[in-house]
């Protein structure tokens, strides 16, 4: 193909340097933002104004910023939950169901230890909060492990299984918090009972301690993949299950472990939003919205190419965009679901850029003397 006085050619890559990979990811985000501005244009809004509002609300506003941080924590946990199986070559799109089960686990423990009795129940946070965390992790791990075992032992497509489990978990939560379910709020508003203040998560300003959990897990994951035997086994299986098996790495073991760990982390995300974020402190009526947000974990995971550290700035950015988007939707009288639209647009941009991970564009200047030979593409 010829463009001007250059011939342009596509060539398969043999090497992808990390700065090249980072550049591609950044370009993908830029493209997504450009596409997203179309949504604003179609609603009759100047995109630059919209973006300015979004970013200033998200990062420079004292109400917006804590919301963004809380969402960032949630997204980082979901992304980490996606990344672990992703490095093993497996698709975990069940973060939604895993976080639902995690929140059921946490509230289950709470109820078992008297948290439902009265809102002013004096419970020991040092006992209860760790227990809730553990229960949340176990809840997510169990539902995750189902997908892991079905894949590892029976080779059943994990995308279908995790999606199905998402729906099953969704209805299970509904069963528990609505119409006479065990966790139902005594006021009967179709949501769960409220968390007694004695077991509110400790805050740093407006931010719950879960921020340390999320950041710590991301760092830990990075370390695991870079230095440990487990990380090596996961990566090997991700690249070539047959070669990994030859080396003594068990496909069932990897599948089970990665989905259980991923599920556990997603379960913690459930604890975070329903038991740690100020102002919520219950399994909300619109819990499905948070479940939907978990799908950002897939996108952030793909953009960060499975690198747990890269996920940190990326989830922060998308936390800001989705919260800011919601705000702008209200302020500029747009239709509901702007953050959903962003989700969709991002994904398509990402998919398009997948192409650039595998191919390079080669520009060669055509010598002026020779006739214009267009190199066939």
């Amino acid at each position: 193909m010829t463009i001007g006085s250059y011939s342009v050619r596509l060539e398969k890559r043999t090497l992808l340097r990390s700065w090249e990979a980072a550049l591609i990811s950044i370009l993908a985000i830029v493209l997504a933002l450009v596409l997203f501005s179309l949504i604003f244009i179609l609603a009759g809004i100047n995109p630059l104004v919209a973006y300015q509002e979004i970013f200033s609300y998200a990062f420079a506003n004292r109400f917006g910023l804590p919301l963004v941080i809380n969402r960032f924590i949630f997204l980082l946990l979901c992304t980490s939950a996606f990344i672990i199986p992703y490095r093993a070559g497996l698709w975990n799109i069940g973060m939604t169901g895993q976080l639902y089960m995690g929140s059921l686990g946490a509230f289950g423990v709470l109820m078992a230890l008297g948290g439902k009795e009265s809102i002013s129940a004096e419970l020991n946070p040092f006992v209860l909060i760790p227990l809730m965390l553990v229960a949340a992790a176990i809840g997510g791990a169990v539902i995750g492990a189902i997908a892991g075992v079905l894949k590892g032992r029976f080779n059943i497509n994990e995308i279908v299984v995790t999606m199905i489990l998402n729906f099953i978990a969704y209805w299970l939560v509904a069963y528990m918090i609505k119409e006479g379910g065990a966790f139902m709020n005594p006021g009967g508003r179709g949501e769960s009972f409220e968390l007694p203040p004695s077991v509110y998560a400790p805050l740093l300003g407006d931010i719950p301690f879960t921020i340390f959990l999320a950041l710590g897990l991301a760092l830990l994951l990075y370390f695991v993949f870079a230095k440990t035997r487990l990380g090596y086994e996961i990566k090997a299986h991700g690249h070539s299950p047959a070669a990994a098996r030859y080396s003594g790495i068990s496909p069932l073991g990897i599948s089970f472990l990665t989905f259980a760990l991923g599920g556990a982390i997603a379960g913690l995300a459930g604890y975070h939003y329903f038991a740690a974020v100020p102002g919520v402190y219950k399994i909300a009526r619109n819990y499905g919205y948070f479940g939907d947000l978990a799908f950002y974990g897939i996108i952030c995971g793909l953009i960060s190419q499975g690198n747990p550290l890269a996920a940190i700035p990326i989830t922060l950015l998308f936390g800001g965009l989705s919260v800011g988007g919601r705000f702008v939707q209200g302020k500029l009288h747009m239709s509901f679901g702007v953050d959903y639209a962003l989700l969709g647009v991002l994904m398509i941009s990402l998919v398009a850029f997948q192409f650039f991970y595998r191919y390079r564009i080669i520009w060669t200047k055509i010598a002026k003397e020779s006739p214009d030979v267009g190199v066939s593409g």
Binding site: R229, L230, Y232, E233, A236, A242, A243, Y246, G248, S250
Partner: protein
């Protein structure tokens, strides 16, 4: 339109000619000014080692590649192939070594795929009749309704030949036609080839070894070396030895000196082993044998007779139906692959790219495949990558692996170098039992020699080696004991000194030892 070119050619006239074919790939001059011509009714073999340029020339003649320079002429007219489709339309048919067939479909469906006369609704009866006629003419016997995956290698090749013939091929290019065949099937194929030549088809077999085949049926031979034609000979004028010399450029040693080592106690004992293949039928029937320290036990057979299943069972990658596997007298029949590595077993798999290595991993990470669990390299769950890097560098230099460095990705290594790396990785663990599954497959002469020498060295260090190979000469020259395998059974187990080449060959094809005692 151009079909008529071929219709008019009679016996003895040049039907296909290549003039000055030159083709370069990045960094490699694959074909350098090659001239070649074949006449109708002639069988003209093209000989050359791996890397001599045979594959490139073959793909050019078939239309898969376009030459940088040079011309192809059919019936005296220059033609240009933009794709294999053009070549097929002009009457050039190709039979590939790695069977280009859809295994799940029937023979007829494979033959009429993409055929211009297939019609919108397939008329299987008429097509079947026409194909039957071709079979009669050239002595093929085939169940047209069978699914291709059920056929033997020889039968699969017949399907490809029929496919080319059904599309009107007048020139047949055969890629290593006999490499995957047992001797009786080879004989049948050669008979059919001669029948086709009598019918004025031109046949061009491309061959790496199996020199006797070349001598058996071809009229003329063209030898390629380093991308150039180095000899054009009439078969009547050559011998096996002179041909080999032309191919390689030096005297080729056909037999390796087998080292004499005192064999010790059995490292491996297999008792009454039965196992199923992936397709469900019994791949191994009551196999019993042992491999001793300091011994090379060679299994000779055509692929597909149970060797792969046996290797996988021994490596811990497949379950048994019945029987026992004992390593140093302890029962490991249900032990995991990891345990076997720990116990001192080493497996060199036949599929070096898909199983033996991880293409996207660096060489260090590939070496780690057999070391990540090793207590010296992994402590408290942490892998010592520094130590692994040093080990990798040692191995690269000791085994002469051509690579820029330990950070190179395995997929950038050539076949020979990758195999050397795998060998280095496995042998450096000093395993007591080595299972070498097709260790020299697809390697050039230099790499092959290297691998065989390394196996000999391991034997001298008292390792027990189970060698699985399709190359009869390789098995015979390396092994202390030889077991021909056919349809999952060992026909016999013969000490190296008593082995006779012809009888082993016959047993590989199914003859029982009793039948051979004449």
């Amino acid at each position: 339109m151009q079909r008529e070119l071929l219709e008019q050619i009679e016996r003895g006239e040049t039907v296909l000619e290549a003039r000055g074919i030159t083709k370069t790939f990045p960094g490699v001059l694959a074909n350098d000014g090659i001239d070649f011509a074949i006449k109708a009714g002639e069988i003209h073999a093209i000989l050359g080692e791996n890397g001599a340029g045979k594959t490139t020339l073959m793909n050019i003649l078939f239309g898969l590649y376009q030459p940088d320079e040079g011309q192809i002429l059919i019936g005296g007219q220059p033609v240009q192939f933009r794709s294999p489709l053009d070549a097929i339309d002009l009457g050039i048919g190709m039979v590939h070594q790695n069977r280009k067939l859809v295994l799940a479909h029937t023979v007829i469906e494979n033959i009429i795929l993409g055929h211009p006369n297939a019609g919108t609704i397939m008329n299987l009866r008429r097509t079947g009749a026409e194909i039957e006629e071709l079979c009669q003419r050239y002595g093929f016997s085939l169940d047209l309704k069978a699914k291709v995956w059920q056929l033997s290698e020889g039968e699969k090749q017949v399907v490809e030949i029929l496919k080319a013939l059904y599309r009107g091929a007048k020139v047949l290019i055969l890629d290593e036609p006999t490499s995957a065949l047992a001797p009786p099937e080879t004989k049948k194929l050669l008979g059919s080839i001669e029948a086709m030549a009598r019918d004025e088809l031109a046949i061009v077999p491309f061959i790496t070894h199996k020199l006797p085949i070349v001598l058996g049926i071809s009229d003329r031979v063209t030898v390629l070396r380093n991308g150039r034609v180095t000899a054009r000979l009439r078969t009547a004028d050559v011998t096996e030895k002179s041909l080999a010399k032309e191919m390689v450029g030096r005297e080729v040693i056909f037999r390796l000196e087998r080292a004499r080592v005192e064999a010790g106690a059995p490292v491996l004992r297999v008792e009454n082993l039965n196992a199923r293949s992936d397709k469900g039928f019994l791949a191994l029937k009551d196999i019993s044998f042992s491999v001793r320290e300091g011994e090379i036990f060679g299994i000779a057979g055509i692929s597909g007779n149970g060797q792969q299943e046996l290797a996988e069972i021994l490596a811990g990658l497949r379950k048994v139906e019945g029987g026992q596997v004992l390593f140093d007298e302890s029962d490991i029949t249900s032990s995991t692959a990891l345990k076997r590595w720990h116990m001192g077993m080493g497996y060199i798999p036949s599929e070096r790219v898909a199983v033996g290595s991880i293409g996207d991993f660096s060489l260090t990470e590939n070496v780690a495949m057999n070391y990540y669990f090793d207590r010296d390299f992994c402590r408290r769950g942490l892998v010592d990558y520094g130590k692994l890097r040093r080990l990798t560098e040692e191995l690269i230099s000791e085994y002469d692996v051509a690579a820029p460095g330990h950070e190179t990705k395995a997929k950038n290594l050539s076949g020979g170098n990758l195999q050397k790396l795998i060998l280095a990785r496995v042998l450096s663990r000093k395993p007591r039992l080595i299972i070498a599954n097709l260790p020299t497959q697809g390697l050039d002469v230099g790499a092959t020699e290297f691998v065989r020498n390394k196996l000999m060295e391991a034997k001298k260090e008292k390792a027990g080696i189970l060698l699985i190979s399709e190359d009869l000469d390789e098995v015979l020259s390396l092994s202390d004991r030889v077991a021909p395998i056919y349809e999952g059974e060992f026909m016999d187990i013969i000490p190296g000194d008593e082995v006779q080449r012809e009888s082993v060959g016959a047993m590989m094809a199914g003859s029982r030892p009793e039948e051979l005692q004449t």
